[in-house]
Amino acid sequence: MTQTAVHPDDHADVHEGGSAARERRGPSPRKLWRNVPIYVVLIVVAIFVVLPLVWVLMTSFKTDADALMHPASLIPHPFTMQAYRSLASSGQEPIYRWFLNSLAAGAIQTVLILVVASMAAYALARLDFAGKNAVFGMLVVTLMVPGVVFLVPDYVIVEKLGWLNSLWAITIPGASGAFGVFFLRQFMIGLPMEIEEAARIDGAGSFRIFLNIILPLSRPALATLAVLSFLSNWNDFLWPVYVLLTPTRLTLQPGLSVLQGAYSTHFGIVMAGAVIAAVPVLILYGLAQRHIIDGIATGALKG
């Protein structure tokens, strides 16, 4: 496969017949008609995907009694923001504080990954040095180790460093993964050699080449990695459940678990919590959908 790491323009592929000219005008009515059964199947699947999300959103605007109503109805009656107000005023479950914590953790870890991984990727993709293959091999080997192996010892290390119950615990260890390095390395290998060569002949050092040439050229890959890193930090669950201990320090994912315990019968409130945790990533997804999907496909198949 060629290095089309992040190409915004090549999404759907053409396997159905037809000349290029006809494709540009869009499919013929006959071809559309032939595909009706496929549309029906896909739309049914889409309803299965979307309906639960809509149902949860609607439930978050219901009163407790309405959420437990039989038979359940999709439309809230009456429509109320009560669940969100209850959450805002809760001292034990400060969800808006969790929201800020999640935002901060996601931002810090993303910046850290971008800096550290882009430097390492540049070295592995564009520089030659003794031991390079050994380093690369070591990174590949550790990818095979399941995450749970690191759980207990990472906890012990974080505790020794005094990072338990702090932002450090949920930002620094998670930035040590090799995914970002592989992802950026793959992109940087595909960059043309000539510009870098010319700069080197002009006397530019590696650091200037990295800063002024490689980084700007890598912008699309960096943007994709930023989005993917933020998503994975925002959604991380197991680790923060165990390293964050007090109510004000939690992030949204472990917070939701607390919320479930505290309001197990108040479905409106729990669903409002889920909506608060879901909306930012769904917005991010809506904005960067193609970057996320292409990034995951290339990261998985070539990383």
Partner: protein, 316 residues
């Protein structure tokens, strides 16, 4: 790749495989650029991987003043019927294995069907692809809580809808066997199918278009084309998806932790959930580390067997 490059210090052109390439040995710069990442990598990947082994050789409880070295006792205990951890550990391994066996076929096949259906240029296809992938961007906690509500036996929307269709019994989706397994598998399929689908779509792009043209010229039906062209062309991607899905299912945590809470009893408690609880909440870090290495060994063996099978199949 590095021949004749480390010998000379200055920039020079070498021709590798017919392509001009500049190679410039630059040891200091290379390691300097790697240093920040390597510090993190050494601190939170290499050290813990080795430290985990060390911990597993001790009776390691953070609240006790002494952490005596006990050799392989933690491991022996895991293989001694009737020991403190034997029953619970192997029950959780069994639950994990069952979940993996039940979920992987659906997670391999359903995304493949979706990808093949989506792999055509028609209006609206891009939107449908985006919709199918959307649940994957949500976190485990969001997924588990929303389905816990939707599948709630008394008040959930799913049983409500079923009641309208004439199903009068309340199905115990989140509390009783075998329904809990259907729930865990179905929710996982709903959540992560989009991810595998996207990988299949990328794989489908790699299949030579001329093969499809040839099949069309031969008058092959779309079913026949699928089995003669698409499936063989996707073989390596499918092997990759299968391996990755097995590993992901074997590491399942959030769904059991929040959706079924291990119920009924501890029957849906996965091994990752057990290790985390026993090691971190229970403070039995030595035993928990030993368990994580046993799990690692299991997964390594399964990956090797799986790889062997898949590569053998691909030879005609």
């Amino acid at each position: 790749m590095t021949e004749a490059t480390l010998a000379g210090g200055s920039a020079r052109r070498t021709v590798v495989a017919g392509r001009p390439r500049r190679r410039h040995a630059n040891n200091r710069a290379g390691w300097l650029f790697l240093t920040p990442f390597l510090v993190l990598f050494a601190g939170f990947v290499i050290t813990p991987a080795l430290m985990g082994l060390w911990i597993s050789l001790h009776r390691w409880n953070p609240v006790l003043p002494r952490k005596p070295f006990i050799g392989l006792d933690n491991y022996k205990e895991l293989f001694t019927p009737g020991s403190l951890t034997f029953g619970d550990f192997w029950q959780s391994m069994g639950a994990t294995g069952l979940f993996t066996v039940l979920s992987v076929p659906f997670l391999v096949v359903i995304p493949l069907i979706l990808a093949v259906l989506l792999n055509r240029r028609l209006p609206g296809i891009g939107v449908l692809r985006a919709i199918f992938f959307a649940p994957y961007v949500l976190g485990a906690a969001v997924i588990a809580l929303m389905w816990r509500y939707l599948l709630d036996p008394q008040n959930g929307a799913v049983n409500g809808l079923l009641a309208m269709l004439g199903v009068t019994t309340q199905i115990p989706w989140t509390v009783d066997s075998p329904w809990v397994w259907i729930t865990l598998v179905a929710v996982t399929v709903w959540w992560t199918s989009g991810f595998n689908m996207v990988i299949y779509l990328a794989g489908l792009k790699g299949i030579d278009k001329e093969l499809y043209d040839a099949a069309a010229v031969d008058g092959a039906s779309s079913m026949h084309t699928f089995f003669a062209v698409t499936l063989p062309g996707l073989r390596p991607v499918m092997a990759f998806v299968t391996t990755m899905t097995i590993l992901n299912s074997a590491n399942m945590f959030g769904q059991s932790y929040l959706l079924t809470v291990g119920h009924p009893g501890t029957s849906t408690r996965t091994v990752v959930m057990y290790i985390a609880n026993y090691g971190l909440s229970g403070g039995q870090m030595g035993a928990a580390s030993a368990m994580s290495y046993v799990l690692f060994a299991f997964l390594a063996i399964i990956s090797i067997i799986n790889y062997r099978l898949q590569t053998r199949e691909s030879r005609p």
